[in-house]
């Protein structure tokens, strides 16, 4: 190994050469990423602290079990695994873009950067769908002695403890007419029964039409759950978004021949470091929110 021999003899700290054998921008990108790791780490640790301080915490498989186009099918972990693989693959295409840059292969850089951008955009699309699904979801909760239909937000979420049927029956009596109407229509969302107009029914008929066993009524979950989920995945999503923007800028600069004239593609390497970091953070977000 020729390099290890040079390493032995080189006096790194005598001036004139980089002691870390690295150009300034790349070194600073590393230190930025380290500080960003602490930011994400602090967020995730704060989430962990709150989670450990609660007697009850929602089961991720109850919360994240939907898949686009699959309706109400119970598919835990399915969609998030798609998101995870999309991000891993886009990280691989970024490695290939950086390598093409090392070889001063402009076409290769352009090709792999485009794939990376597509991967990033696909991930953002998945996240948008998931957020939309959680916010607009209609779940029955028992709050203040009556039933209500809510989605997941920063103010509350429907992921609390399951409520026994007797309590649901009692709560039905206090529930508003509009909610009852919604409930009775939720129960018959499919088949011929969906066609009947429930708004014509009287209050008592509505009460009878509701199938309590199918409602899966829960209490409201810990308020912090929504805030942490939207806050941390949102902060990560913002990193993905800025990564996609950076990659688009890199793509335009490559196509304009900026790096070709400069003689090196080191900017791609720095953008690549940032992009891999985004993937790295997702690995931990995936662990903390979806797996455990």
């Amino acid at each position: 190994m020729a390099t290890s021999a040079t390493l032995q003899q080189t006096k790194w700290w005598t001036g004139g050469k980089s002691p870390f054998n690295m150009e300034y921008g790349k070194l600073m990108m590393w230190y930025f990423l380290m500080s960003d790791a602490f930011t994400f780490g602090a967020f995730l640790i704060s989430y962990g602290t709150i989670r450990f301080s609660q007697n009850f915490w929602p089961d991720p498989n109850v919360v994240f079990n939907a898949f686009p186009g699959a309706g109400h099918a119970n598919l835990p972990l399915a969609f998030v695994s798609v998101m995870t693989f999309v991000l891993i693959i886009s990280s691989v295409t970024m490695v290939l873009a950086v390598h093409a840059g090392h070889n001063n292969d402009k076409k290769g850089v352009v090709k792999w950067l485009i794939w990376t951008i597509i991967g990033g955009a696909a991930f953002l699309g998945c996240q948008a769908w998931e957020w939309h699904h959680l916010i607009t979801g209609e779940h029955v909760v028992l709050a203040d002695g009556k039933l209500d239909i809510i989605g997941q937000s920063m103010r509350g979420n429907p992921w609390g403890r399951l409520v026994p049927e007797e309590q649901v029956m009692a709560a039905l009596q206090n529930t508003s007419h509009e909610t009852l109407l919604q409930l009775s229509q939720m129960g018959h969302s499919s088949g011929a029964a969906a066609a009947t107009d429930h708004s014509a029914l009287s209050h008592d008929q509505l009460l009878k039409s509701i199938q309590v066993a199918e409602l899966h009524v829960r209490e409201k979950g810990p308020v912090a759950f929504g805030g942490y989920f939207f806050g941390i995945t949102g902060f990560h999503g913002f990193h993905v978004f800025s990564g996609v923007i950076i990659n688009i800028v890199m793509l335009l600069m490559t196509q304009k021949g900026v790096f070709e004239r400069r003689g090196h593609y080191l900017m791609i390497e720095k953008a690549g470091l940032y992009w891999h970091f985004v993937d790295l953070v997702w690995v931990f977000v995936f662990l903390c929110f979806y797996l455990i």
Binding site: S53, H216, F277
Partner: protein, 140 residues
């Protein structure tokens, strides 16, 4: 080989295309396999929670395994994809040593959260009864 644009950079890491392609392919396969194992463990935990009385210790062990697998994934992303493994040792240390703070950070704060829960359960019985998960209530 010196860097074309930065004369203070003494040598460049250079791998030939074949070795590089092989390394990237192997790492991709490894990351995918680890992710699939993680998902499998996630499904195991899911089926255990569906049961009437999940073995808490076993669930905790599976969760610990997922954490270890995640750290392995993080290691491969940083050392192969980000090429940190190829850098000079001193440079690696300026990144890795500060990150050791996380050992204290995670331990101390999770301990704190847990202690808060225990104190509240000890001194606020109403809180304990109104929030503790009822038995046979884990699943759907």
């Amino acid at each position: 080989m010196q860097h074309p644009a930065f004369e203070e950079v003494t040598f460049q890491h250079h791998t030939d295309d074949a070795t590089f392609k092989k390394k990237v392919r192997n790492t991709t396969i490894l990351l995918s396999i680890i992710t699939i194992i993680e998902l499998a463990i996630g499904l195991i935990i899911y089926t255990m929670h569906k049961g009437d009385s999940p073995n808490e210790l076993l669930v905790l062990m599976f969760k610990g395994m997922v954490c270890i697998l995640t750290l392995a994934k993080a290691y491969y992303i940083v050392s192969v994809f980000m090429h940190l493994g190829d850098e000079i040792r001193n440079m690696i240390m300026t990144i890795v040593v500060p990150l050791l703070l996380f050992i204290w950070f995670i331990g101390a704060f999770i301990w704190d959260g847990n202690s808060y829960k225990n104190l509240r359960n000890t001194y606020d019985k109403h809180y304990k009864e109104s929030t503790l998960p009822a038995k046979h209530n884990g699943g759907h």
